[in-house]
Each structure stands twice: as C-alpha cells, then as structure tokens.
C-alpha cells in the first residue's frame, strides 16, 4: 500500500512538473516572453529588470529552474493591474469561488441524482427517454447563455433576482444554477448507469427474493451503493467548477477566480492568467491524487492490483 501511494505521488509530481513545463514552454517558444511579462508601455529600464529577474538571457533550462524555484516559493509574479502579488490576489478571490462551487454542486446533484435514479428504475420507458433528452440539453446549452436567459427572465422581466454582484443568497441563486446545470447532465448519466449496474447485481436479486418492497430495495439497497461513483465524480467536479466558472462569473460579475481570469485577459495582465491556469491545473492533479489514495485505502483490490 505504501508503495502504491508513493508511486501515485511520484506520478502526480511528474504531472505537476510537466504542467509547469508546458506553461513555461508555451510562453517562451511562441515569441518574445518580455512582451507578455512586462507591463504594456514599460520603460527600457523596467524591461531590463524583468530580463534580469527571469534570467531571459540565460539558457532555457536555467530559466526553467528559476521559474520552478519561484513557483515553489509561492511567487507567481506581480499583477500589472492590481499592483500586488498574484498569489495574494488569487487567495483573496478564492472564498467567492468556494461559495459558488458548492452551491452549484448542490443544484447539479439535486437535479442529477433523482433524475438519474428515475431513469434507471424506468429504463427504456418514458422517464428514461426524457432523462436522456435532458442530459443532451444539459451538454448542449452553453452555461453563459443559460445565465443570460436567466437574467432576462428573473431580473429584467420578473425583477425577482439581482442580475449581478454578490453579497446575499439571492445573488448566488442564478450563477449557481447556470454553473450547476451543465454538470447535472453528467451526474444524471453516471447515476443512471451506476444504478443500472447495482440493480443487476446478485444482492439486489436476493433482496427482491426476500420479498422486500421495491421502494425499499431501490432506496436502501441499490441507491446507497450506486451513489459511491457519483460522489467521487462530484468531488472532482467541485474542483473543476472552481476553475471553469469563468464565463458564468463574467456574466453575473461574481468576484471569484473565473472573474479574476477574465480581468486578467481584458487588462492584458499576463501573470494573473498564467497563475490561474497553473493553480487550476495543480489543484486538479492534487485532487485526483487524493481520490486515488482514498480509494486505495478503502478498496484493497486497487492497491493489490499494482
């Protein structure tokens, strides 16, 4: 088990290294990095200072070493626009994202799990087909459009909800729904297939043979077991939600990480863009690692297999 975990950590470290290398090389190879790393309209002295700091006149592998070194120390550079360290900026925006993502997750599970169970129990019948169309709709409607249409209805026509900003629970409803909507489809699909698998298993047959009422079989015996993979996916998706909310946060002016990324591109604030990508990718690599390790702890088949 320890060997498995160590190897898994090793893989993740390689992933993190490759991640930083990818980002590093893209910035260096596609042109003169000073145009990205130096503020637009900076003086020659500033440009030279940046060249000095990142060692841009040195061989590329030395530059990468410096780059990695500063990342490890938590130095993601200085925001041009806000004139503060990017990491501080990122951390200051994180709470908003950490509020939005679970709210969106709640919506997506509230929609996805019941509809998935219903589709599995009524497989091949009306509710299953309705669920399939719903899932396809979920994947086909861009979340930002869902957001804009929500604003049109609930803010402009009905005047029930505020169209942008944050602060109260009313501000949270529409962005959370728009963000959760897309994921609801994925959660529904997985709930359905997971339920179908469990419903076909031996112990469900036994429960039925014992004469338990169907509702009890589904709710107690099948549902609980079918939920495990769905919750795993939900765990990964929660982290993904923090990192893909850029469009939804832009539509609703929600002050999270996504909005920060949007500001990064509009203000040509490259260090911000780079940090959001690096930290987002890093977060996902680490969560995948945690889930794999957790699974190995829970399920002996996984750790013995290797």
């Amino acid at each position: 088990m320890t060997r498995y975990i160590i190897r898994r950590i090793g893989y993740s470290l390689v992933s993190l290294l490759l991640l930083s290398l990818t980002i590093f090389l893209f910035v260096r190879v596609t042109g003169d990095p000073t145009t990205l790393l130096v503020e637009p309209g900076a003086s020659q002295a500033d440009i030279n200072a940046i060249r000095e700091r990142f060692g841009l006149d040195q061989p590329i592998w030395l530059q990468y070493w410096t780059f990695i070194g500063s990342l490890v120390q938590g130095d993601f550079g200085q925001s041009f626009y806000y004139r503060m360290p990017v990491l501080e900026l990122y951390v200051s925006r994180l709470p908003s994202s950490l509020l939005l993502a679970p709210a969106a997750m709640a919506f997506s599970l509230l929609i996805g799990i019941p509809s998935g169970v219903l589709a599995a129990v009524r497989v091949g019948r009306f509710w299953d087909r309705a669920g399939k169309i719903f899932a396809l709709l979920g994947l086909s409607l861009p979340s930002f459009w869902v957001g804009l249409v929500l604003i049109l209805f609930f803010s402009v026509y009905l005047e029930w909800l505020p169209s942008s900003g944050s602060g109260t629970v009313w501000h949270l409803l529409m962005p959370a729904f728009a963000l959760g909507w897309y994921f609801a489809a994925a959660h529904m699909r997985l709930t359905r297939s997971s339920m179908l698998e469990v419903l076909g298993s031996e112990y469900i047959k036994l429960a039925r043979l014992k004469g338990l009422p169907e509702s009890l079989v589904i709710a107690k015996h099948a549902f609980k077991n079918a939920l495990i993979p769905v919750l795993t996916l939900a765990g990964i998706n929660l982290v993904i939600m923090i990192n893909v909310a850029v469009v939804v946060e832009t539509v609703f002016a929600w002050p999270g990480i996504g909005r920060l990324l949007y500001e990064g591109i509009t203000f040509r604030d490259f260090p911000v863009v780079q940090a959001v990508v690096l930290l987002g990718g890093g977060m996902i690599v680490i969560v995948n690692l945690l889930i794999d390790v957790l699974y190995a702890v829970i399920d002996p088949r996984i750790r013995l297999e290797s």
């Binding site: 490759l18 396809l136 861009p142 832009t250 539509v251 949007y262 987002g280 990718g281």
Partner: protein, 294 residues
C-alpha cells in the same frame, strides 16, 4: 466470431433501412441546413453583417411592435441586421468547429496510434503529456493560449486543436492496445510489414470509426468553447459575426429587455450543438459498440 471491422454486406433494401433504425433525421437536417446557410451566406444574407446604420439601432424583430419587415430579426446596438449576422455566424461556427475537430482528431489519432502501437518510452511520454493536459480545464487552457498568441480565427482553430487532441489520444490508444493483439496484425508482422505500414494500413483503418464518433461528439464541445472564447473577447475578433460575439454584444441590450440579441444567437448555438450530439450519439451506437458505455 466476426471481426468488428468487417463490413456486413447489405442484402436487401429492408436491411438497409434496419441499419438506419433510429436515424436522427431532424438533427442531420439541421446540421445540413446550417452547412447550407454557411456556404451560401453571401447570397442568403439580406445585409452586410459587419456594417450597420446607427439610425436603425435596436430594432425589434418584425413581429413585435416597432419591428419592420426590413429587419426580420431586428438589429443590434450598431444597427446591424441580426439575421445577416446569424447567417454569417453559421459560417464562422462551421469553419472553426470542423477544422478544429479535424486538427484535434488528426493529432490525437496519430499520437494515440503511435503511443498504443509502439509502447515503451514513446507511450510513456505521450501518455504523461496527455494526462497532464487533460488535467488543465479546457476553457482555462484555451484562454491562456489565446492570451499568448492573440485572438484570430486561425489561432482559435490551432488552439482548440491543441486543447482537445488529448481526448482522442486516450481513446484511440486504448483501441490500438487491443487491436495490436489481433491475428491480422500478428500476421502482418510475420509477413514482414514495417511498423509504419502496419500502423498506416492495418491499425488506422480500424480506429477511424472511433475517431469519427469522437469527432462528432467533439464538434459540440468545440463550438461551445469557441462561443465562450468569443463571448469573453478572446475568440473570433470583432466585427466578424460569431455567435459568441453576438451574445457578448447582446449584453448591452439585456437589461432593457432587448431579448432577441441574447436569445437568438444562443438558440442557434444550442440547435447546432444538440444536433451534433444527437448524431454523435447515434453514430456511437451504430459504428462502435465499444464506445456504447461512454
């Protein structure tokens, strides 16, 4: 057991129609319609999509009070005809969508075959890169890349290709791993075929179905991503009429209730993406039983 790659001969007309069971006619018609509109945009569009008249700003669609038959679907904040912009927008979505899917498909399929067939360190390197790139949220990664190379239609295609090839590489590699063990590949090795020619003549034709299925399913994803990039202002540069860009412009009239600027481009995106997904779903079941559980 019949080989999956063998074409089943169609004996009669009845068989032919059975093969088309559940054929998503409406989605295919919609996609064909969008393609038609995209190709003949110059002829079909009543106005120049990039030029408006400021005297005719924010006209509502013809059927609404204040609308006129001159602008069937109304005008935007610069007085440009919405219908014409939607028509030319179809062209942008089609061109960017199809080429990006093909770029991603070509790179991903190629690397997937190399990775699966050659194995060893080639496999290790390609799969490590694939895993890492898959960990990056696609939209964020695409935004990062546009921030470096700058937005243009051509760049968007390359960027979307660079972001999405990993999905193909993963699936195709898996297929190749099982194909590699099959009799006909072993026979080819014994017969003295070079690795290159085995990959090209024996492996590639057998994974092309999966690549097509994936491509159809990816089309929707790519179109939505392009729209999102354009919406954020790092996609297709204005004044070109892209649906995502129209949505961004539509925000200017949203709070005063100019719904047509928001609802119509979104409906176009939805129709096209939904059609591509329905077609992809059908193809998946028809062409590739192995992908059914995806």
């Amino acid at each position: 057991m019949a080989m999956r790659s063998e074409a089943v001969p169609l004996t009669s007309r009845a068989d032919f129609f059975r093969g088309l069971e559940g054929f998503p006619l409406l989605p295919v018609l919609i996609l064909a319609g969008v393609a038609f509109v995209a190709i003949f945009a110059n002829v079909l569009a009543p106005y120049d999509p990039e030029v408006g008249s400021l005297a005719a700003r924010f006209h509502p669609p013809a059927w609404q009070a204040g609308g006129s038959s001159e602008h069937l679907l109304g005008t935007d904040h610069l007085g440009r005809d919405v219908l014409s912009r939607l028509i030319f927008g179809a062209r942008v979505s089609m061109v960017v969508g199809f080429t990006a899917v093909m770029v991603a498909g070509a790179v991903g399929t190629g690397l997937g075959i190399l990775s699966g067939y050659l194995g060893g360190w080639v496999d290790q390197v390609i799969m490590r890169i694939t895993d890492t790139w898959l960990a990056l949220p696609a939209l964020t990664f695409a935004i990062f890349l546009t921030a470096i190379v700058g937005p243009s239609e051509m760049n968007i295609v390359v960027i979307l290709g660079a972001v999405y090839w990993t999905r193909y590489a993963r699936v195709i590699r898996g297929e190749v791993l099982s194909l590699k063990e099959r009799e006909f590949v072993r026979l080819a090795i014994v017969a003295g075929c070079s690795k290159w020619s085995i990959m090209r003549r024996h492996i590639l034709p057998n994974v092309i179905n999966s690549a097509i299925v994936l491509g159809t399913l990816m089309l929707g994803v790519v179109i939505v991503t392009e729209a999102a990039l354009s919406f954020l202002g790092v996609g297709v540069p204005p004044p070109k009429p892209a649906w995502g860009l129209m949505l961004a412009d539509g925000k200017k009239g949203l709070m005063v209730g100019y719904w047509w600027l928001t609802v119509l481009p979104g409906l176009c995106i939805m129709l096209m993406v939904l059609s591509a997904n329905l077609l992809g779903d059908w193809l998946r079941v028809k062409l590739d039983p192995q992908l059914r559980q995806l």
